[in-house]
């Protein structure tokens, strides 16, 4: 693994650099520590909308000009907003890195938020949300999450509530941008075909002049303890039934998180490029022909989030059947734990997935950016080494502490035809 250079500019901008000379390409990621978890009721979706407005131009790079700049040099660029952060990236031929540095440093402080463009983007974002709503499982996921989080910002969709998207003003969005888009609240990650000394000089030149502003206070409210199992039913005019069962899970940097990731690998598969046909839950739910498919999801997040099992029912089977079988499998693992063979396999699968994911320079840069979002830029690169220390006892311990009814949120999507 290549060495990472980590430093901070006087204005507070954190920089991470990783030289990789396997392809003539550089991937540059700009992370802002602002996501939907920091939004207040009334302005839900502001972080995502600001992300859209960052493509609507600055005085130097007006909207119509900006659109084609990266494409024209054969690069790709995009952005996404998560619960925890907002990220922008450009992956492009190495000789064009100045373009990415110039436009990202420019739009860190000079985005226009033209009122007409803001209004036009309102309907685009509402369209984006409606596109998600067309998927029936969107409603189940939303209901399960809002049932799980009553106080914490994880309760609302990243894209925001329809009411807020309809009423939020340009000035509210601009204030959100000005408050959070500062060097001290940002991380610049670069991986690829460059010489570290040379790129440091470029970064100084493009970012050094941006004023040092106070690091913003990020709005966040901790979720109170859950006092018992929560259940929610959603009805949609569809023909297929779904079940979702979530358990509260710790933040990504918590010592328990890795053991839970091994537990998930055994229960529902390693994910990534690896199939799950020998996982315990595939055997119990899919091979038994109760479900057409199943999956597990444990995301690394800044604050405690959810470990979720999703099941698509086959015709003729009930939600209760699938839920009962799932809970029986979870009880079994809480009783007996996992075998040393299962542990060895989960570790090998993690190594394989890591090798696959890090083939791409873009993914290597993303790994650093995502780690920085969690507050530990080494999180991704030390993942495998930390995983090696996990034991079968560790996995049994987290299964018994997290997979308890008082920690559970159950959602049923009822088809109404």
């Amino acid at each position: 693994m290549s060495q990472v250079t980590h430093y901070t500019l006087p204005n507070g901008l954190t920089v991470l650099l990783k030289e990789i000379h396997t392809a003539p390409v550089i991937s540059m990621w700009t992370l802002y520590r602002i996501g939907s978890r920091n939004e207040r009721t009334g302005t839900t979706g502001a972080s995502h909308w600001v992300e859209h407005m960052m493509f609507k131009g600055t005085k130097k790079y007006p909207a119509g000009i900006l659109d084609g700049l990266i494409d024209r040099v054969g690069g790709q660029w995009n952005a996404f907003t998560s619960h925890d952060s907002t990220m922008y990236y450009e992956t492009l031929p190495a000789e064009h890195i100045d373009l990415a540095l110039d436009l990202e440093s420019d739009r860190m402080t000079n985005a226009l938020f033209d009122p007409e463009e803001t209004e036009s983007e309102r309907t685009v974002i509402l369209s984006e949300r409606r596109g998600s709503e067309n998927q029936p499982t969107f409603w189940l996921r939303e209901e399960v999450r809002t049932t799980a989080f009553k106080v914490h910002g994880y309760h609302h969709e990243i894209i925001g509530d329809v009411h807020d998207l309809t009423t939020m003003t340009r000035d509210q969005l601009y204030a959100h941008y000005q408050h959070h888009y500062t060097p001290a609240n940002a991380v610049l990650v670069m991986a690829g075909a460059f010489k570290t000394d040379d790129i440091r000089q470029k970064i100084d030149a493009y970012y050094g002049h941006i004023p040092n502003r106070t690091k913003p206070n990020l709005f966040s409210r901790p979720e109170p303890a859950q006092l018992g199992e929560r259940r929610v039913l959603v009805e949609r005019p569809i023909k297929t039934a779904f079940v979702m069962v979530s358990y509260r899970a710790p933040e990504g940097t918590h010592p328990d998180w890795l053991a839970l990731s091994v537990l998930d690998s055994v229960l529902s598969g390693a994910g990534g490029s690896i199939d799950n046909k020998t996982s315990r839950l595939y055997g119990a739910l899919v091979k038994s022909e109760i479900c057409a498919s199943m999956g597990g999801n444990l995301s690394e997040t800044i604050d405690p989030y959810l470990y979720t099992f999703s099941m698509t029912l086959r015709d003729g089977h009930t939600h209760q059947e699938a839920e009962t079988i799932l809970l029986a499998e979870l009880d079994k693992i809480c009783q007996d734990g996992i075998t040393s063979k299962e542990l060895t396999r989960a570790k090998k699968q993690a190594r394989a997935n890591f090798a696959y994911e890090t083939e791409s320079i873009t993914n290597q840069a993303y790994g650093l950016a995502q780690s920085s979002a969690l507050g530990d830029h080494t999180w991704h690169d030390t993942y495998l080494a930390r995983l090696e220390s996990i034991t079968t006892d560790d996995v049994l311990d987290v299964a018994r502490r997290y997979l308890v009814p008082q920690n559970r949120i159950v959602g049923w999507l009822i088809p109404t035809g």
């Binding site: 390409v25 369209s127 067309n134 020998t278 899919v286 057409a292 394989a352």
Partner: protein
């Protein structure tokens, strides 16, 4: 520093049984990808058994002469590898990935799955149930419904592209185990099979391994590929499909485009880049999304493959904006037909599509896909090296001629599904 794969760096060998092997070493990685195809797609299946080849390809990994389901998948998952099958009208595709040291096991499993599947009855029935659930769900998927409508509008029932390779709720129950076994016995063989291997491997060892598992595969019954039926111009069509409980309408506007073998295929790709790809999704993105704010996604693409594919505009819009979006897109199609793209637009897209080649070749998958494309379409192994020159040789007039050949704005196939 990486250079583009070419005829001097890709090792190509043709076995006596017709199997074409292409190997490319990427020593800086830790993995290996195998990717390829055999000439056994769904074009031979009857409409009442539509989906049979797709069921067959899914069944290949359900048990073999040597491995039952559990042993097969335990072997793969124990080493953190994957191996999957797919099917289309022309070919059965396969794709696998493993850590580089596990290539011999991956090739052995590929040989087992392609040559010696046992099609266990209980596994095929399980797959059938899963497929029926999936199809039921798709009947409320607006994107899937519009794609089906476009397929049926562009291609007559006498053409294999008319049918979904996945089958339908009506046809999947008709497929028997005997159908699947008979099709496998007749159509599966090494003749014209392509196998691409890319990764941190040794070429000589990889070739020896391929020979071990495939050199003796001969199937005298394997038929020659059948030419597609001639296609006449399709009639205009505008189908509106109501789906309850939806917030948005999915929309496709399509016409018949070129195949990958057509001389003007790349000129059409350039014209399409201007129409709905470059920057924020080209001209239609600029108008429908940026100026009118009517859609989050709107773009266009040319789908040509071994036969003529759809040239389509795809969008998701509010139900109230469907007709306005169609009118705006039709106007842009008329403009693309009646006026050459500007020199700036042409240069922009040429620069974009040639400049991003290194990005497409960042991973072993990306390289394997490119090599398979070069071999499958007969482009030659220096296609990537020549790509820049070929794209820059295309003029605005070439792009306009391709547009005029395929796009007739008064004869479009339109599908809308949603609220």
């Amino acid at each position: 520093m990486q250079t583009l794969p070419n005829s001097s760096t890709i090792i190509r060998d043709v076995l006596p049984n017709g199997l074409r092997v292409l190997i490319y070493e990427t020593p800086h990685t830790h993995s290996v990808v195998i990717s390829g195809s055999i000439e056994a797609g769904s074009m031979f299946e009857s409409p009442e058994k539509s989906g049979m080849v797709s069921m067959l390809s899914s069944s290949l990994m359900r048990g073999t002469r040597k491995y039952d389901f559990n042993t097969l998948h335990n072997t793969l998952e124990d080493m953190g590898a994957n191996l999957g099958m797919s099917s289309g009208v022309h070919k059965i595709g396969f794709h696998g990935k493993a850590l580089a040291e596990d290539l011999p096991v991956l090739l052995e499993l590929l040989g087992e799955a392609l040559r010696h599947p046992t099609f266990p009855a209980d596994e095929v029935e399980r797959l059938r149930g899963e497929r029926l659930t999936w199809l039921n769900y798709r009947l409320q998927d607006t994107g899937w419904l519009t794609a089906r409508s476009i397929r049926e509008g562009l291609y007559p029932p006498s053409h294999p592209y008319h049918y979904a390779s996945t089958g339908t709720l009506e046809t999947i129950p008709n497929i028997t185990l005997d159908d699947i076994k008979a099709y496998h016995a007749t159509h599966f063989g090494a003749q014209d099979m392509i196998l691409v291997i890319v990764g941190a491997i040794d070429t000589a060892q990889a070739l020896a391994c391929v020979r071990q598992y495939f050199a003796d595969w001969d199937n005298p019954y394997q038929p020659q590929p059948t030419p597609l039926p001639e296609l006449n111009s399709h009639p205009p069509r505008d189908e509106r499909i109501k789906v309850a409980g939806k917030s948005q309408s999915d929309l496709i506007i399509a016409t018949l485009g070129p195949s990958r073998f057509a001389k003007d295929y790349h000129a059409a790709v350039v014209a399409n880049g201007v129409l709905g790809q470059f920057g924020m999704m080209g001209r239609i993105g600029e108008i429908v999304r940026e100026r009118e704010g009517m859609a989050y996604h709107v773009s266009s693409r040319v789908d040509g493959g071994y036969g003529p594919g759809a040239w389509r505009i795809v969008a998701g819009v509010h139900p109230d904006n469907v007709d306005k979006t169609i009118a705006l897109c039709r106007k842009e199609l008329e403009k693309l037909v009646s006026e050459p793209v500007t020199e700036d637009e042409l240069r922009d897209f040429q620069s974009y599509t040639t400049g991003r080649l290194p990005l497409q070749l960042e991973t072993n998958e990306g390289i394997a896909n490119s090599i398979h494309t070069m071999e499958g379409y007969g482009y030659g192994l220096d296609y990537l090296m020549n790509y820049r020159q070929m794209i820059y040789a295309i003029t605005a007039e070439d792009a306009q001629k391709a547009t005029q050949q395929y796009i007739h704005p008064d004869n479009l196939v339109i599908a809308v599904a949603g609220a």
